[in-house]
């Protein structure tokens, strides 16, 4: 039972990370209809920035906020400078740009900070934090920080005029212009926010997976799965999807371990959890192609 809870909690912690990256993907997707393949690498780059700030002597939380702010500005700049000229370009051109961005982030991080794997600290106190035998201090911290970030974002979109304007611009850009919303800037702002959320995810996961230029590769895959399971056009769905995928993969491994313990036969374990989790995702999407919380868009012809 204790092991079950432990696995469940660690699934929640992973899920929180997937939820953040999935949310970043969805935020850009709903306003541009593009999936940003570089989201993970951008988050990795942000994590290096926070590491660098700490190397320069800043405290973890200052470095955290600094890196999130810098990422926000970088996100805005990427949209304004690189993607603005591609507004009317075919989808494939944009995809190529995203892949280019991915490669650039990756090799730049390698060139600046080297490909050597680095340790990354956890800001959460070891002694007083967490619940012994159930959830470790870092895992609990990750879940809490993510929940705070997600609630702040929710409040921003739900209650502020700017958040409302961003939603309106994503839903109906032409009409948004007609009520005076500067839609171009809303897109850039969306990129900035997505980059900032990615930074949070990267910084939170770095202690678990260690810091290196390829740290986000697998996580981006999970995040895609999470976004699709939740319904790619639905931010709330992406968050729930993230937690589902996180818990699911750990439950798969746990079940495999239990079976092995009981019967002595090894069927699945830690090594297969990604595979099995993705099979379940494919299964869900076969039954509900729009995702669990997605809406089927019906086009009138």
């Amino acid at each position: 039972m204790e092991q079950f809870l432990e696995q469940f909690a660690s699934g929640l912690a992973n899920g929180a990370i997937y939820a953040c990256v999935a949310l970043a993907l969805v935020m850009i997707y709903v306003s541009t209809d593009h999936l940003n393949f570089a989201q993970g690498e951008m988050a990795m780059f942000s994590t290096y920035i926070s590491w660098q700030l700490m190397q320069w002597g800043l405290n973890f939380w200052v470095a955290f906020l600094g890196a999130v702010a810098i990422s926000f500005v970088m996100g805005v700049l990427i949209e304004r400078v690189i993607l603005r000229p591609l507004h009317n370009a075919p989808v494939l051109s944009v995809v190529v740009v995203f892949i280019g961005l991915l490669a650039i982030c990756n090799s730049m991080a390698g060139a600046i900070w080297s490909y050597l794997i680095k340790e990354y600290p956890s800001p959460f106190p070891k002694s007083s934090f967490g619940i012994a035998g159930v959830i470790g201090p870092h895992q609990l911290g990750v879940v809490l920080i993510t929940l705070i970030v997600l609630s702040l974002l929710f409040a921003f979109f739900r209650f502020t005029p700017l958040g409302l304007a961003m939603r309106a611009a994503a839903q109906n850009p032409q009409m948004a212009r007609l009520v005076g919303v500067r839609v171009d800037w809303m897109l850039a702002l969306g990129w900035g926010l997505a980059a900032a959320i990615g930074a949070v995810a990267g910084i939170m996961v770095a202690h678990i997976v260690y810091l290196d230029p390829n740290m986000m590769g697998g996580i981006l895959l999970y995040a895609f799965a999470a976004a699709l399971v939740g319904g790619i056009g639905n931010p709330g769905g992406a968050v729930v999807g993230g937690f589902i995928v996180g818990v699911l993969e750990n439950m798969v491994a746990y079940t495999g371990n239990q079976i092995e313990k009981l019967t002595g036969v090894y069927i699945i374990g830690n090594g297969e959890k990604l595979t099995v989790a993705l099979i379940i995702v494919i299964f869900v999407l076969t039954l509900k192609p729009a995702g669990l919380f997605g809406r089927v868009v019906v086009k009138r012809v």
């Binding site: 005029p161 409302l164 304007a165 939603r167 309106a168 839903q171 109906n172 032409q174 009409m175 948004a176 212009r177 007609l178 009520v179 005076g180 919303v181 500067r182 839609v183």
Partner: protein, 237 residues
Amino acid sequence: MAALLEVKALKAFYGSTQSLYDVSFEIPAGGITTLLGANGAGKTTTLRAICNMVRTEGAVRFEGHDILGKPTEEIVRRRIAHVPEGRGTFTSLTVDENLRIAAYTRKDKDGVKAERERVFNYFPRLKERIQQQAGTLSGGEQQMLAIARALMLKPRLMLLDEPSFGLAPLIVVEIFRILKRINEEEKVSILLVEQNAALALDLASHAYVLETGRVVMSGDSSVVKNDENIRKSYLGY
């Protein structure tokens, strides 16, 4: 009386296709003017051209300022409210959010609050539906919401694109009655594009008739209405 909106030799293009050739007209402050014409005459394009939503040439002056080619968002800030064809509802937002976003450019909180009350006075049904998703409203209610949204801007000029489209006759009559009231009580000038010429001519004081991207005639509504030749050749009733 100086014209509120002056349109001179307006041309408009979709890609390389020209759809307006020479459109000139004036809208007096405080009045209701209607643009009539058959399908494809360029009525909707004219409204879109005023808000810079298509590529244009020519001149558009609003309250003495040249607005042609200015970004749509800036033109809206001069308080020109465009109610587009198909109503332009933000379907996934609630009625309340639709009204709030409509006042996005306004900084006077108290004014916006008062506007809301006025809007509910014209459209009490919207108040009942305030927390409902706009996409779930009926066609008539969505048209009301579209007009309400325009009002939240406290507009000087309202551009209305076929407010009668797809609505039951009784609801159309109700909406046109409200438009009349809005024009009189709020001193909002209205430029109305309509397929339903008879209805539009009853409401408007002045009419322009478009044919294939040109103004082919204009005059007082009563004159246009009673001229059998115009009716038969351009308005088809």
